[in-house]
């Protein structure tokens, strides 16, 4: 129930942002509209609260940006130089993340980082298969994923 409400508010805000009119009437209209949309699409789902997680979200984003820049530079170097430095692998990373949202976010952030690509999640949701371009040591890579993205993400989500 609560998550629905949040979703509703969120959509109302997006609406207002999209239309660019921050008037009361526009909020009311956006609220009704997103209410309708949610009504159309929602099946029973349970969501945790979003409120306490704002600081963690910011922290995570900063971490992500750092990773992004670091990896981009690495890739850029490789792309612009003639020699190829790649050591690609496909690695199955065992997951601690459980819910679909957790897994999806994790996978997406990994993909957004240059040099790595989430290929698929096993059907039992226990393993995330990642294609990575610069892996010297398999174990170390798994460790970096689990301690990096996954831990931080789960901190926020749980």
């Amino acid at each position: 129930m609560r998550s629905l409400f949040l979703m509703n508010i969120l959509l109302t805000l997006i609406w207002a942002a999209l239309t660019g009119k921050f008037e009361f009437s526009n909020f009311v209209f956006g609220f009704i509209l997103s209410y309708g949309v949610l009504w159309i699409i929602t099946r029973d789902t349970k969501r945790a609260s979003y409120f306490t997680r704002v600081p963690k979200v910011i922290g995570f984003l900063l971490f992500f940006i750092k990773e992004l820049i670091k990896a981009n530079i690495q890739v850029a170097y490789d792309v612009v130089t003639i020699r190829n430095y790649m050591k690609p692998v496909i690695i199955g990373v065992p997951l601690d993340a459980e819910t679909e949202l957790e897994i999806t976010l994790l996978a997406n952030f990994i993909t957004l980082t240059p040099g790595t690509l989430s290929l698929d999640v096993s059907d039992d949701k226990k393993t995330l298969y990642i294609h990575a371009m610069y892996v010297e040591d398999k174990e170390a890579f798994i460790e970096s994923v689990k301690n990096g993205f996954e831990r931080r993400l789960l901190d926020i989500l749980r």
């Binding site: 239309t19 699409i41 997406n108 698929d120 999640v121």
Partner: protein, 136 residues
């Protein structure tokens, strides 16, 4: 396709896109957009959902057959076109509410007409795509 990543993403994308489609529909009279594009975006939203979750789930979500939207949309458009005839004006003569309405702007029969277009486009596009997807 059995991928939770897409499934999860589509769950959030659907409302976002529907909202976006309505946004595009409503502002069409002032800026690029309108019933067609709006309807197409809404249709795409459902198509994406269907790709991720399977057709049955999407249809369940929609509750009605998309084809039903076509006569509904046509009816809305036709009525908005015929309403002026009651006032003895030609078919599709624009009728406008004198004061602008918040958010939407001037409220007129043209808007209802565009809503009709929007619904027909959703209905037709989805009918086509869904029928193909479910036919082997």
């Amino acid at each position: 396709m059995n991928t939770i990543i897409l499934k999860t993403a589509s769950k959030y994308l659907l409302p976002l896109l529907l909202l976006f489609s309505i946004f595009v529909l409503l502002r069409g009279h002032y800026l690029p957009g309108g019933g067609f594009v709006g309807g197409l975006i809404a249709a795409i939203a459902f198509v994406l959902h269907a790709f991720a979750n399977g057709l049955e789930n999407t249809q369940q979500l929609m509750r009605i057959h998309p084809g039903f939207l076509m006569p509904v949309g046509l009816l809305i458009s036709a009525i908005s076109g015929m309403a002026p005839m009651l006032l003895n004006k030609p078919f599709m003569t624009g009728l406008w509410k004198s004061d602008p309405v918040p958010v939407i702007g001037s409220l007129g029969s043209a808007l209802f007409f565009d809503i009709g277009v929007y619904l027909v486009v959703i209905g037709a596009t989805l009918t086509i795509l869904f029928t193909i997807s479910e036919t082997r």
